[in-house]
């Protein structure tokens, strides 16, 4: 990627939008929400990482992945494995037939820690694994698919199949993975209790910070030459290929970035919610994440974040108020948004709200200018 200057990457608009988002996440929400609701927002934000990756892959690159849950899950599981090992010290698991191993292994008659769990005693290894394992996996999928020019619907179906396969694998190997229950009852991170309120605040801020970092990265990518190439590829892949670019490499790259974002989200999810289960890896959650992105607007990196927040907030509110009817309300929301605003909330904003604001701004300016020129005329 060629060097891009700060001014060229971030227009004044972008700085305003990032500022508003940061103010919302760092100041407004923590001020007005109690810790329970804030923790929920923190959970929603972990999905926003995935939605952000999808904007890059799908909105910009035209690669629709229906298997982002795989990367979210891998990241989450890597974090959960570390936390679970820390929670399974011989002292607190002395009731088991084999103390010192995670409880679900003991329930499945496993008597020693499997080799691939061993390295997860180390936090640096776990942190590296959170990023590297999903990215490497995405790279392998990417090479296998894009080098053979598999794309579009076929790619979407294959990613969906991978999500399904991984779920079956996790559920089937319950002695090693915790099965349907997942890895539960995570307590501390290097002795620091992640279940206390103060820990929740810290994890929330960490999550927001990481999200903003990813957002800036995403912005850098979209504004760079690479971003323009992605859009060109999306709209006319053959022309880009004829112009001498290796299309597959760009696709692999952006798919890997999406996977890494999702993995960070997964790890933050595990930390904030306190467990990880295969219900985040499968087809349904993966499609749900695409919906977050679609509602927010798949061409807008800000839209993805607001979309995720809005959909999840709606989900929580509807299901609290109408425990038996909320799914219909959610269905109506999705149908409504995709029918009426195919570009999502971001499209709604850019076609109605933004022109209105700009108009008012111009009017204000021209009035001022008039005043100034009138004063000048008087002078």
């Amino acid at each position: 990627m060629s060097f891009v200057s700060f001014r060229a990457t971030f227009s004044r608009h972008d700085l305003v939008y990032i500022g508003i988002l940061a103010a919302l996440l760092f100041a407004i929400l923590p001020l007005f929400l109690d810790i329970f609701r804030l923790n929920l927002v923190g959970k929603y934000l972990t999905y926003a990482f995935v939605a952000l990756g999808l904007v890059l892959c799908w909105g910009y690159g035209g690669i629709l992945s229906l298997g982002q849950g795989v990367f979210f899950g891998l990241g989450g599981y890597a974090m959960a494995m570390f936390l679970k090992l820390e929670a399974s010290d011989p002292e607190s698991t002395k009731i088991q037939s084999t103390p010192g191993i995670p409880d679900f292994m003991d329930w499945n008659q496993i008597t020693e820690l499997p080799w691939f769990w061993e390295p997860f005693y180390s936090l640096p290894f776990a942190l590296l694994a959170i990023i590297i394992v999903p990215t490497l996996f995405a790279y392998i999928i990417g090479v296998a698919m894009f080098k053979r020019r598999v794309g579009g619907v076929y790619f979407a179906i294959i990613t969906q199949a991978i999500a399904s396969i991984l779920t079956i694998l996790i559920i089937g190997q319950q002695g090693y993975t915790g099965g349907v229950n997942g890895i539960t009852d995570l307590r501390t991170l290097l002795g620091w209790d992640i279940r206390t309120d103060s820990a929740k605040y810290i994890l929330y801020y960490l999550c927001c910070f990481l999200l903003l970092v990813c957002l800036v990265l995403a912005k850098l990518i979209t504004k760079s030459k690479l971003g323009r190439l992605l859009v060109a590829m999306r709209d006319s892949e053959d022309r880009v290929r004829f112009s001498g670019y290796d299309v597959a490499n760009f696709k692999i790259f952006v798919f890997c970035v999406g996977a890494a974002f999702a993995a960070i989200g997964g790890a933050m999810f595990t930390l904030q919610v306190g467990f990880m289960s295969p219900s985040f890896v499968g087809i349904v959650p993966s499609i749900e994440m695409v919906i977050f992105c679609a509602v927010g607007g798949r061409f807008s990196i800000y839209g993805a974040i607001y979309g995720t927040l809005v959909v999840n907030w709606a989900k929580t509110t509807f299901s609290e108020s109408f425990p038996e009817l909320w799914l219909f309300a959610m269905g109506a929301l999705f149908i409504g948004v995709t029918m009426s605003f195919p570009r999502g909330l971001a499209g709604l904003y850019s076609s109605y709200v933004e022109p209105f604001i700009l108009n008012r701004w111009k009017q204000l300016k021209s009035k001022q200018n008039l005043k100034v020129s009138a004063e000048q005329a008087r002078v």
């Binding site: 923790n39 679900f104 229950n181 997942g182 299901s319």
Partner: protein, 422 residues
């Protein structure tokens, strides 16, 4: 009654002279003050930890899936809990307070269960939660209940290996469902060879592990053990294996929708449960599941449970009648539904014994709580938070009910960590 506060204040401060009406005013002031204080004190003494308890009401939570794949199973539990709460309220409530419930939907999704349980405990400050169904949902909420010190009444028969101070398990743990059932087929039906079969998750696996150990202890043989993913619908290959190995008993712990395919395919392959060659013994099919399987497909199979809708005792007749009055005549009542019905009653008894809604006091009061009015008969809470209960064997009938063929004489002691079976 409105009290003229200004006048009272002036009487106190300025030492204004009292006439008759003033004296009455002061008296009424003291009286109302005394009422207020005593009410506050009564409330404080039954509720020292800030739960959602007022003088007239106590709030509890109901947390089951009413949407998603588990809704079909969990609906019965929700109905049973609402019925129990209604009956308790009609009798005057708990410690003179009516029970108000807040219902949340776990949506068949384990993290949602965790989120909603946290909401019930932290936001709504409920005095107890009746809920969860699958082990996965219980495992998801367990850390929440332990962290915020809530009380969960969990209705499902389950794999054991757990004993939380924050849960009362009103269903059977594995040994209560398995041991007596196997003893019965061995003694009464002369079974020698068993084929173990189940859905692939912790409950069937742990249950089959206990069953296998027990069978081997009796000196008998397990000729096959297999697991299929939840929702699996192709059982032809295992049916062929069963035919090949000729077990005396198919011990089936198939769960949910897979049951429909399993029993239909068994019958289509010529294994008729009525012939008892091999005999089918299940611990996962209640009356609720038979609705989906169809009575004609499973007629003749045996189930080991603690409750059947057809139990002939008076408690149960009253319970079934009340249930049908509230929820309609077509409804069937399975084992878990009855266990869910016990939850609010056991909680009420514990609260009244403790004289307080405080979680710690309710926990301390719980062991030893008895319920003579339980539809399954008499139950009692063990110090390990599980219930003493009988094991019963029922034979499936064409109309979707079970007829009782055997029950243990004594209550079975709950043993969530069975020695020699792990």
């Amino acid at each position: 009654m409105s009290i003229n506060l200004k006048r009272i204040l002036s009487l106190f401060t300025a030492g204004a002279s009292c006439d008759q009406s003033d004296r009455r005013l002061i008296l009424s002031f003291y009286l109302s003050l005394w009422f207020l204080l005593s009410a506050a004190m009564v409330n404080a003494s039954v509720n020292t930890t800030g739960l959602a308890v007022t003088d007239k009401e106590v709030t509890v939570g109901i947390l089951h899936s009413v949407t998603g794949t588990m809704a079909i199973s969990e609906t019965g539990s929700v109905q049973a809990e609402k019925l129990a709460i209604k009956q308790i309220n009609d009798m005057g409530g708990v410690l003179g307070r009516k029970i108000k419930y807040i219902q949340e939907d776990g949506a068949s999704d384990w993290p949602t269960f965790a989120e909603k349980s946290k909401k019930l405990l932290v936001n709504d400050k409920v005095a107890a939660v009746f809920g969860c169904w699958t082990s996965a949902s219980r495992k998801a909420v367990l850390p929440v209940f332990e962290q915020y010190n809530g009380m969960l009444y969990y209705p499902t028969f389950y794999e054991g290996l757990e004993q939380s101070p924050n849960v009362i398990y009103t269903g059977q743990e594995a040994t209560q469902q398995i041991l007596a059932g196997i003893d019965w087929v061995v003694k009464e039906k002369g079974a020698k060879k068993f084929y173990l079969l189940g859905s692939d998750y912790i409950w069937p696996r742990t249950s089959n592990k206990i069953a296998r150990k027990h069978i081997e202890k009796l000196g008998l043989k397990v000729v096959g053990e297999e697991y299929y993913p939840l929702g699996h619908t192709q059982f032809n290959s295992v049916i062929n294996k069963i035919k090949l190995r000729r077990p005396d008993v198919i011990y089936a712990i198939v769960v949910g929708g897979s049951n429909v395919a399993f029993y239909k395919q068994l019958k289509a392959a010529g294994i008729d449960p009525r012939k008892e060659k091999p005999l089918i013994l299940t611990i996962s099919v209640t009356e609720d599941e038979i609705l989906g399987i169809g009575g004609e497909n499973i007629e003749g199979a045996y189930a080991a449970m603690k409750y059947f809708q057809s139990l002939p005792n008076e408690n149960n007749k009253r319970f079934v009648k009340a249930f049908k009055e509230m929820w309609g005549d077509d409804i069937v009542i399975g084992d878990v539904t009855q266990a869910a019905y016990l939850g609010p009653w056991l909680w009420k008894a514990a609260v009244e014994k403790a004289g307080s809604f405080d979680i710690d006091k309710v926990r301390a009061a719980s062991p030893g709580i008895e319920l003579h009015t339980a539809p399954e008969g008499y139950v009692k809470i063990h110090p390990n938070h599980h219930l003493w209960s009988k094991t019963r064997i029922g034979r499936a009938l064409r109309n979707g009910q079970y007829e009782l063929v055997y029950e243990t004489k004594e209550l079975m002691e709950p043993d969530p960590f069975p020695k020699g079976y792990q």
